[in-house]
Amino acid sequence: MNIVPGRGSRLALALLPFVVIALVYVVGSAERRAANPDDKLLPPISEMAQTVHRLAFEPDRRSEETVLWTDTAASLQRLGLGLGIATLIGLVVGLAIGLLPVVGSTFASLIAVLSMIPPMAVLPILFIVFGLGELSKVVLIVFGVAPFLVRDLALAVGNLPAEQLVKAQSLGASTWQLAIRVVLPQVMPRLIEAVRLSLGPAFLFLISAEAIAADVGLGYRIFLMRRYLAMDVILPYVAWITLLAYLLDFALARAARHAFPWAYVQERR
């Protein structure tokens, strides 16, 4: 607990597990290849690099599009729309529930019940109601993420010290002014934290919806390639999705610290 690594060794320690996993993979892949030249389960890195190059830089023979980028664009658009709408709902509804007792009494239990419905269970309903297009995938993400965001934000609003709300009113703030100048900025860091935590579920819903009904997208491609046991496509795609999620998370964390420096003063390094 008291042995703290320095800056350089911290980086080295963080990289160590990745290096070990890569080594294990390379060795395992080479051994399987030696035993069976047609092995598809653990393709060598060189083969995967070739596939990635083909997917990322050469247009597809049939559709004339570079597959990786069209998949990525389609998936990120769905994810961005879904998360964006969910965040907006979480912000507005969560703020109203947390701040206004009348709204809280009316909607808090409804949101609590909604958040207990497994989103994947309503996916058939979404497909029936909204069709198999983009809309149903976006709605699935919203449905899966928004109730959590609403509840988390309502809690954050409820945790603001009552003194601050009284103080703002004693400075002449109306409920609206108090909401936008006192409550909103103070819960924004928490909202971003909640969205970061929602990235995992959001990707889960995205990939699931794409696996079931789509004609383009990262999840669609993975499940399509499964039929051909094409691990040389699936593995890089998984790595690419992971990288995207990680970068999104990192960007959100950075943005929060940049926009709300006061909220992170007490943070332990």
Partner: protein, 266 residues
């Protein structure tokens, strides 16, 4: 500068009676120190005047008008903690009071109005000695500085009554002495009626022009909440008042009790 009159005030939470039979006339411009043991309803009393709670019975009048039962800009307040907004710098913490006043929709000022409000805010910070720390967030300020900021903020809307709920309770003795000097100076300059709840008897006698003690006078050993606290002492602490105040030589005054319960006029 404002007079408060309280008539037969009761405060009950369910079966529990917190305050009972409170009758009080507070004249404009006084500095009322409110003392009493823990649980005697000092803070509840302050919350009633603040409008955060409603009395079960009785009435509170501010300058003859019934008090609006929600917090408003006519009553400023400084709490022991959480009195400033952590997401705003010291200057913005004061500025926001002016922004609430003049920009109902966005609560933000622009151009001339903003420059004006900024100048006023800076002047207030100067008054409490925080001009060097105007761009710091509250988390970078010491406890005493945060309370100075809270006081500057509370004075921005020129409240008729300033309510202080153990404002210096969490400060070290040296800082507390500085704060006493500051609050005394501001009270003289702004002429606001001040009501301060405190645990510190010395502070109460040192700052107040009138001391009011709340306590339970009746106790039912079977039901602890059966009787509430009421005013047990009401002392006039001005130099010419009837109570001997440490550090001041007393000129002999006719003691007919007329001064007691009369409050003070500045």
């Amino acid at each position: 500068m404002s007079a408060i009159s309280i008539r037969d005030l009761w405060l009950e939470y369910g079966n529990q009676i917190v305050l009972e039979r409170i009758n009080l006339q507070i004249d404009a411009g006084g500095f009322i120190a409110l003392v009493g043991p823990s649980g005697a309803g000092k803070s509840s009393f302050l919350r009633l005047i603040l409008g955060q709670e409603r009395p079960t019975r009785g009435a509170i009048l501010l300058d003859g008008e019934p008090l609006r039962s929600e917090p408003g800009p006519d009553r400023g307040v400084v709490f022991q903690r959480y009195s400033v907004f952590p997401h705003l710098t010291a200057l913005e913490n004061v500025l926001i009071a002016f922004e609430f006043a003049s920009s109902p929709v966005l609560a933000r000022l622009r151009g001339e109005a903003r420059r004006d409000a900024l100048a006023k805010s800076a002047a207030l910070l100067q008054e409490v000695g925080l001009e060097a720390h105007r761009d710091k967030y509250p988390s970078a300020l010491s406890g005493g500085m945060q309370q100075r900021l809270a006081i500057a903020q509370a004075l921005a809307r020129r409240p008729r009554v300033l309510l202080l709920d153990e404002p210096f309770g969490a400060l070290d003795p040296g800082t507390r002495a500085q704060m006493h000097a500051l609050i005394r100076k501001l009270w003289h300059e702004h002429g606001t009626t001040v009501i301060m709840v405190t645990h510190d008897i010395k502070e109460a006698f040192g700052l107040g022009t009138r001391l009011i003690a709340l306590d339970r006078t009746r106790l039912d050993s079977q039901a602890a909440g059966r009787y509430g606290a009421t005013i047990t002492y009401d002392l006039d602490l001005r130099r010419d008042g009837p109570v001997p105040v440490l550090g001041f030589l007393k000129t002999p005054a006719p003691l007919d009790g007329a001064n007691i319960n009369q409050g003070i006029s500045p």
